[in-house]
């Protein structure tokens, strides 16, 4: 009896899935300009990035769409979940999803792009093969430029509209300077995630610290799947580290680290990029212990509204109004928003959707967006610096009294870096 029920249920399930398969992908209508979003939707970065893209697309469509040659055409977003944010997904699987998107939905360009550095690098060949311009807004790996330079002509369809590890590290270096100058701190312990982008980040920081006279108490990379940081935190405590420089993007480890650091009462400031401690809800979820931790937000507008940059306030207000809550991660969401406008501007400049013309138009991008003034350099990455009128910018903020206060660079700062009372000698 049980078996018969199972057979019936089975046929029903297969029956339900079949019509879904047979519904043709509506890629043959010539009207909308199709934007593909192949990314890991079940991560905060992917989910909020997608929301930002949808918001931008809605705004553009409300004005009639994007001008392609002589006619205005609306944008249409098609999403595929590459699931590469999940540790068990093989890269081949993510690439299959990406390829299916390209072959069936025929997007004219793709945004956001896969989450994991491995997948992004692998997808570069895929994009080069199908010649679909890709504007990536999540992956921070410096390996992108390295690979790009090996064959710029082949990889010309790839662009990065966000920062990379070296840029992020540069901003944190500025914060470390302030800590040294104002409070005389000079002992640092490094905990990077053992992935290339985080190692690159901490690598740049290490060199800087060596140059500016910081004493390195320890350097301990942890594997991306780590769930216990007590050995490192203990070493930091025993070595009397005053600053723990930490870079982590996998939510699992970052969450555990945040809580462990609070629980172990290590008398050191956390500086770097730990998403759960930098999110708007961190006060509620991790607790008051996040107070005084210092984080870099790359680029501006991702999660913290800055009074000195009204565009960030505007973007975050719109986001909050539309979706009910602010973006979670203090990273890359504004890049996703800007990338839609960059694409629209390039399409209008090129006057057509032909990939090669679009690439040339993209290279000429000069757009003032939420993250600053965005222009590509010859490696197809956006230039970041310290002047929002000239380049894109990031900001470093510190939790003070339950609020995220920007402290560096100086022209964006709304407060000074503060030392926790338990660190005053």
């Amino acid at each position: 009896m049980g078996k018969k029920i199972c057979l019936v249920l089975l046929t029903m399930l297969i029956g339900i899935s079949c019509p879904v398969v047979l519904i043709p992908a509506s890629s043959h209508s010539a009207e909308p300009v199709i934007i593909g979003v192949p990314t890991s939707v079940y991560t905060p970065f992917g989910r909020d990035g997608l929301k930002a893209v949808n918001m931008a697309v809605e705004e553009i469509n409300a004005k009639g769409g994007v001008l392609v040659g002589k006619e205005k055409r609306p944008f249409k977003v098609v999403v595929t979940d590459t699931r590469d944010g999940e540790p068990t997904t093989p890269v081949h699987d993510a690439l299959m999803a990406y390829e299916k998107l390209i072959l069936e939905q025929k997007p004219h360009a793709t945004l956001i792009a896969p989450f994991r550095s491995e997948t992004i690098i692998a997808s570069m060949d895929l994009v080069a093969k199908y010649k679909v311009p890709q504007l990536q807004t999540i992956a921070q790996t410096p390996q992108f430029q390295v690979k790009f330079r090996t064959d710029p002509e082949k990889y010309k369809y790839l662009f990065r509209v966000t920062t990379d590890a070296a840029i992020d590290a540069g901003y944190i270096s500025g914060a470390l300077d302030a800590l040294k100058a104002d409070f005389g701190l000079n002992q640092v312990y490094f905990i990077p995630q053992d992935t290339l982008w985080a190692l690159g980040f901490i690598g740049v920081l290490r060199k800087y610290c060596e140059k500016t006279g910081w004493q390195e108490v320890g350097y301990e990379p942890y594997a991306a799947g780590a769930t216990d940081f007590s050995p490192g935190l203990t070493k930091a405590k025993e070595g009397k580290a005053q600053v723990i420089a930490m870079v982590w993007d996998v939510p699992l480890g970052a969450g555990i680290f945040s809580k462990q650091w609070a629980a172990m009462k290590v008398p050191a400031l956390v500086v770097g990029f730990v998403p759960p401690m930098a999110a708007p809800d961190a006060w509620k979820n991790i607790g008051k212990d996040v107070e005084y931790s210092i984080h870099v937000e790359f680029p501006v507008g991702a999660s913290v509204p800055l009074k000195k940059l009204p565009k960030t306030v505007e973007f975050l207000d719109k986001f909050q109004k539309k979706y009910g809550k602010a973006p979670e991660a203090a990273a890359v969401n504004s890049s996703a928003y800007d990338s839609v406008y960059i694409l629209a501007a390039a399409i209008e400049r090129a006057g057509s959707l032909d990939p090669d013309k679009l690439v040339t138009a993209l290279e000429q991008t000069d757009y003032r967006g939420v993250s600053g003034r965005l222009r590509f350099n010859k490696d197809h990455i956006v230039v970041f610096g310290s002047n929002p009128e000239e380049t894109g910018v990031c900001v470093v903020f510190q939790w003070q009294k339950g609020k995220r206060v920007p402290i560096y660079p100086a022209f964006l700062a709304e407060g000074k870096v503060a030392l926790p009372p338990w660190m005053k000698k």
Binding site: G2, K3, C6, L7, L9, L10, L13, I14, S17, V20, V21, I23, V41, Y42, V79, T80, D81, T88, T89, P90, V91, H92, D93, L95, M96, A97, E99, K100, L103, E104, S117, E118, I121, A122, M124, D125, T141, Q143, K147, T150, D194, T195, L196, A223, A224
Partner: protein, 338 residues
């Protein structure tokens, strides 16, 4: 469980045509020949013709199904020998990395890297697993489960052979058609060779080892050597799948040791019916396209896929192939008892 009184029973009789086709009368008429030939010729014809009809994405799906099919066949080969493997991704990954490193560091073309990967992968897997050949059942399965995870973490930690970023921009196949027909060809050849071999003397010894190894030992046959050979063959087949996928996607990374590549062949075999190589092959031909078709559903895809898998295994625990085979050869009638 409630007590049920049996009032009816299923009476199964061989079909007439089966009875005739079982003997020399198989060549008596075209009907009998067709009866015997059709189930064997049909998949071959389908697999050879479909790539010409499909284009683009679904051809990739066929390739992926063939690769998982190869892994499932290799799993079944080991199972026929009594070695229950939960780590097909070990073979897959070893082959992928051998081909990948040769292609990346020495720039050899697929023509050289794939055969070397097949042999190398086979030797490596046999070498790695032969110390644990004496273990039975669940213990051997556990080692095979842990090995690929260990490799994955080792590569991540040591950063060798590309580390967590992997090796990319490897040499592709010269032609889409070469790729797909190589995949289909390898799959079909493997299927038919295994099916044939298992019924020859060699295969009979392997099956005997599964059934009762002490009896085989007492027949003065060295079962460890035979098992090692079985490991080599299975490893080589898995390595081919890995090497092929490496060149097809022009990329190899530590995720080639992912759990996915161990579980999918297992599920394909459970679905199709373990023991007969056609079962795992059929299972993979169903599961992989199903998984791809379900992509249209977005978020619920994997959950629905698991549901379908669970229902299939519960409804047909013997496997689809056994069920089809039975229906093909026999007909059933409900007959009153007593």
């Amino acid at each position: 469980m409630a007590e049920v009184e049996a009032r009816y029973r299923k009476k199964r009789l061989d079909r007439g045509i089966k009875a005739r086709a079982d003997t020399i009368f198989a060549i008596a008429s075209y009907r009998e020949i067709l009866y015997l030939l059709l189930p064997r010729a049909l998949p071959v014809i389908l697999l050879l013709v479909l790539p010409l009809l499909f284009k683009g994405y679904w051809n990739k799906v066929i390739i992926y199904s063939c690769m998982i099919g190869l892994l499932a066949l290799s799993w079944d080969f080991l199972a026929s020998c009594g070695l229950f493997s939960l780590g097909q991704s070990l073979f897959f990954g070893l082959g992928a990395y051998v081909a990948g490193t040769l292609s990346y560091y020495f720039h050899w073309s697929p023509i050289f890297t794939i055969p070397i990967a097949v042999l190398g992968g086979g030797l490596l897997s046999a070498g790695l697993l032969s110390p644990v050949l004496r273990l039975r059942g669940v213990y051997f399965a556990m080692v095979t489960l842990m090995m690929p995870l260990l490799f994955m973490k080792m590569i991540e930690t040591t950063g060798l052979v590309g580390g967590s970023h992997g090796l990319s921009s490897l040499a592709p196949f010269p032609n889409e058609w070469v790729a797909i027909y190589l995949a289909v060809g390898a799959f079909l050849v493997c299927l038919f060779v295994f099916r044939r071999a298992i019924n020859e003397d060699y295969g009979l010894v392997l099956k005997a080892i599964r059934d009762d190894d002490r009896a085989v030992m007492s027949a003065a046959i060295n079962i460890y050597w035979r098992k090692t050979q079985a490991l080599f063959v299975a490893g080589a087949v898995g390595a081919f799948a890995g090497a092929f996928m490496t060149h097809h996607y022009q990329f190899v990374g530590m995720s080639v040791f992912a759990l996915d590549y161990s579980i999918l062949p297992l599920a394909a075999s459970a679905l199709g019916g373990p023991g007969t190589f056609a079962g795992p092959a059929l299972g993979s031909m169903i599961l992989v396209p199903l998984s791809e078709a379900l992509r249209a559903l977005g978020g619920l895809r994997i959950a629905l896929y698991c549901f379908i898998l669970i229902l299939s295994v519960i409804a047909l625990p013997e496997g689809i192939f056994h069920y089809i085979e039975r229906k093909y050869h026999q007909f059933e009638r409900l007959v009153r008892v007593g």
